[in-house]
Symmetry: D2
Subunit: 388 residues, 4 copies
């Protein structure tokens, strides 16, 4: 049976990184519904992220997205974060919103566009140097919409060349996390459409290149925990972009669409050493809060990851291994389900109280007055968003 | 064997309606890439649509979208269309871009929002009266993103109530076309997610309510031609929103992703009387041209529908029926494939030449100087787009 | 807040019907792995079903499948059931295993084959008269594998004609439950592929025709609870064929692939009156136990339905309605998740103990010696299976 | 523009391998419909395959499946093939039909079962030595049905160990082709579910291990031609298992469900050197003919591959490259579509006539009397099938 003290320690030690863009406005191609109190600057985003950390205790890191979080002085931004108990996490590049990227960025047929894109990626590493971030997270929107539009193999060649240049620029303690995505915004081919493509490129790049699993970026029915387990076995799981989906890349709150899947993923993570700090798996959120209140949604998402992790840690791995080895299908499944069916909210409340936090972060935030304050204060200026 | 004269007559008589918004800018949630020469007003959109009709000869109708095509004087807009050999087609409502529609429109929990939405729909019927349009096309973005967010049944009740009010307002020669969509922009429930829901509501409304099939609005793997055949059998197929997709609602050019599927759809249409004018099936395009040139893309799409229709008309229905009746699976399939594998482009070129058109509409448009002209002239102002 | 006494009463009163074929051998097209102790006769299947009922207390009904459960004397079979505290439930027809059904049954192009199929359906009603069963459950494997193979509309006509004849034969207290299925064994068209098709036919037949929702018979991503809610609103939900799936019609134990989905379904059932006996929704299992022990798998499945139902009954519907009405997305979702995250196993153990049952049915069955007994006794003869 | 003489030469030189099991009975889990005239022995399967080759001229190779094609003397079988103008192709292993494989074969938790499975694979290499086959095609049905049933990573370890042992046994001119499959018969995890997993294992094994792409083994919406292009770029495409599907692994005739996809695949093959003999890509069929006549279905399938190949060879690659390089989306797509829309049947008829074949293989076979002969002669005995 799991040792509750160890479970508690693991849960207290877990770190969940929140994305700066989760605090800004977002939407679909049909409409972005603005919300009141939304940050206007990267500094205000950090203010909001600090609230999430204040009430959950496990979310000190904040991912940035360049150029959405472009500032004059990144060291100052990092200091601002530090003053609020935060640190700056992964730097996310953006090679999909410049007008020149209509047909791609690092895979574009025109070398000048590729140069521009690679320069942006190199700039992101510069920013990492300034912020102390260790992770460069690369998601490429590159792809094509129509059969014949461009050459699949040529685009792979261009991709490999760009990645090699960026990889060479990384410092000793920096790594490159390569994300894959099934489709969108490209609708025929995507240049990094699946984990296999990302893995193959990372393998060639070297040990500082790893795969990022965005839980919303797969074909229907894909068994994500298999991929997670496989990548952990290969030492190639760099981290997660957590969110959830019913259909495509819906970017809903992690754990809201299929909490059992999230548990199964965290079970593979826990079982295969992915919670150990030395494995260096980044647990990041990457979500949109199109219609729900943003800060509470991030808090809730952090809690959902915690609950899935708690259940994963409660799996009786000895009993599981025994049932598996004996070929007792129902018994093995039952061991897993016993953990999943456990209500871990009391345990998490207990942990929070032991560390001086309110047991219910959502209620505590609601009672804190922060939302009222930002609604009143953040008037005028331009609300942060995707800048699309 | 099909009678070629009859095939030619059917192809010459086919009418394909193009959407005003297909001439404007569009994109994904990540980026809208603006194009040069894009119309700034509904009048300029009609100018572009007139080009499509001039070179294809089968696209005299143009769908409008309110409020994207809002003008002071709709009769004047209709006259402007008429002067260019066009007529105004379906009026498309928009109940998804007002800030009050964040949680829905006609299904919103708040009666005031529902009132606003219904009033907009009634306004669309007013516009139909002014333009002479016979079709009110309703697509509702309504739905929810999270389990529990709202009550599924209550929302159906509200939907039924709104539809009934709008239906009652229709004139004798007007009809209501109810579109369904699998998902997006709502990510958990959609209030009209499938043909069954649309059909059930149309059935209760009466004979002036019919279902619209958007070819991009289905679950993966859905057999669309089955739905088309079923609705034709029930007299409930009002029309098509044509486009194509590899993944979700990609809104690519019709026929570009799965031309065989488009042929199968047109085969059911042709076989079940759907090409007869009295069946009143509207063949409308509803697409985005995010990265390709817009007017040529619309021309190409019209041609793709023509080619699929031509192949469908070439099916030897007697041989097909005989093979089907005798249970000869391969022979029956072969009859269908023979028509599909025929290159119908020469036939269509011949028809065009017989009616005084250039045989290759794409080349003819390219040589017409129109694109250069609008690129030069349409400078300044605000380019049309989705207004999201 | 839910009234616990009422919750307990509802749970005690719930009835879950188990399928006779769940106790026999099953498999995939690749292999059927036989298990020891499997019943050889319908009587032995009832013996096993009686075990499930003995340990769960909520599974007194057993569905039959004709011809797999063909016996000389159905009244005797019913009496045998009654002696064991059971009753015979839905009669399931089989129009897919006769050699003449290669191209369909009630939709076959050949009238003689259709006659044979309809006669079988009428025979099933005769059996219902003998067994006292009230439900005729119809699933048609009919469809085509290749485009052009047969005429979609003609097949609908044949289907309608067959259904009308069977419907006319029903007694006053009998009903026809029409199942739909996305695909398999037909791979191009299926003649009843979705709820819309089933609903449209049932509507024309009359009030004794209702739709059956098999939870494994949908396109990827389909929102099943929407369909459930819609059908309940229309009075057209006849019942469920419960099972679960990750990919296609996997026929795994209900609740094992997506327990949250099962909860959402039961939430719609509970909220919309579907648990009330007068609504007459049949909660049936329809599963395969290809690799796991069969009786324990059925017990586990019954428990999974109970757990989902318990959670659904614990939803604070007043708080939910209030949050929904106020448009508080996160609060509404939280009310639902609170119920889902509750560990209801203690409550169900309590209910069992109050009704004289062992708190843990799986353990109680394992300790009962039944499995050892049937393994020893059921030697020789031909094990029951699908007879494919 | 493509050189027609070169196109003809390429088409004449193409070799399409047919599967022995395509001539036997097959079906779904619901029913296997037996056909008349079906072979009873591997020798009779070769007789049928010889007919396919006689009328198409491009299908001299026949894949075997062990144990379905087990004979006493494999050299005699090879000689029998040679006498009929055939040669024996890939040897397909079967580790899914022994009773001991219920929970897997090379990934089974029990080392004894794994030993048995590996021994079977080694036996297959022995058979290759006897038949002169160069390809060992491995498809593993291994996987699990329920979360927790077995350990994902442990199973990968066992898989890697088994593959290494088999790889070490290969002769200099032999290779191991590792197939992947999304799901079925396992319904939760599959041990080689996607190309990435197969690729990763092949990479570790060495240059004699390559990936096989079965066109029916992907998640919905997967872009197969991307995978093909990627593997060709990496030198890791060993071959194809051709068939087609609308839903899951439907195993319909190749090219019957989505002929445009087949063309796109062959375009990537042709463009990236995959038709060159030295690339050694095996073009194999792997299909079921559940309801259609088997030999004509195989002929038709061979022709479908030829037609897709012909269209691919007709792509004007220079014009395509120019349009791609200039970023003209519509022009590039049009170049591809021009080739696809060409009716290549006259060209293929011409090639056949030039090589002394009848222009229409289906009609020629129908008129040959073979079907009547085997129907009359192959009476009694046990028809070949999957042996499930």
């Amino acid at each position: 049976m799991p040792d509750i003290a160890a479970v508690k320690a693991a849960l207290s030690g877990q770190r969940i990184e929140t994305p700066s863009w989760g605090y800004g406005n977002s939407g679909t191609r049909f409409k972005v519904f603005a919300q009141s109190g939304v940050p206007r600057t990267p500094f205000e985003k950090l203010d909001d992220a600090a609230q999430v950390h204040a009430f959950t205790g496990v979310a000190p890191k904040v991912s940035l997205h360049i150029p959405w979080d472009r500032v004059e002085d990144y060291a100052a931004l990092a200091a601002y974060a530090k003053d609020r108990g935060l640190e700056l996490g992964a730097i996310n590049s953006n090679t999909f919103q410049d007008d020149s990227y209509k047909l791609g960025s690092v895979c574009h047929p025109d070398a000048k566009v590729r140069r521009k894109a690679v320069d942006h990626l190199l700039e992101c590493v510069d920013i990492m140097d300034a912020t102390g971030s260790s992770d460069l997270k690369l998601w490429f929107a590159d792809g094509t919409n129509y059969p014949g539009q461009d050459d699949i193999v040529d685009r792979q060649d261009r991709l490999a060349e760009a990645l090699a240049e960026v990889y060479a620029r990384l410092g000793d303690d920096q790594r490159l996390l390569l994300e894959y995505k099934f489709f969108e915004p490209a609708f025929y081919t995507t240049d990094v459409p699946d984990w296999g493509t990302s893995y193959a490129h990372c393998l060639k790049l070297g040990s500082k290149a790893q795969v990022v699993v965005d839980t919303g970026h797969h074909a229907p029915g894909t068994n994500i925990e298999f991929i997670v387990a496989f990548l952990l076995r290969e030492g190639k799981l760099g981290g997660f972009d957590f969110n959830s989906r019913f259909y495509a890349d819906d970017d809903l709150m992690v754990g809201s669409a299929d909490p059992f899947q999230l548990f199964r993923i965290m079970h593979e993570v826990a079982k295969n050493g992915g919670l150990a700090p030395e494995t260096n798996v980044a647990f990041m959120l990457d979500q949109c809060h199109n219609i729900e209140a943003k800060i509470p949604a991030v808090i809730r998402s952090v809690m959902n990851v915690q609950e899935a992790t708690a259940k994963a840690l409660l799996v009786d791995v000895d009993a599981l291994a025994e049932a598996q080895q004996s070929g007792d299908v129902l018994a093995a499944n039952a061991v897993l389900m016993d953990a999943y069916n456990t209500d871990v909210r009391p345990l998490l409340r207990e942990i929070r109280e032991e560390t001086g936090l309110a047991p219910d972060p959502v209620a505590a935030y609601a009672g804190s007055g922060w939302q009222e304050r930002i609604t009143a204060e953040r008037v005028g200026g331009e609300q942060a968003g995707w800048g699309a």
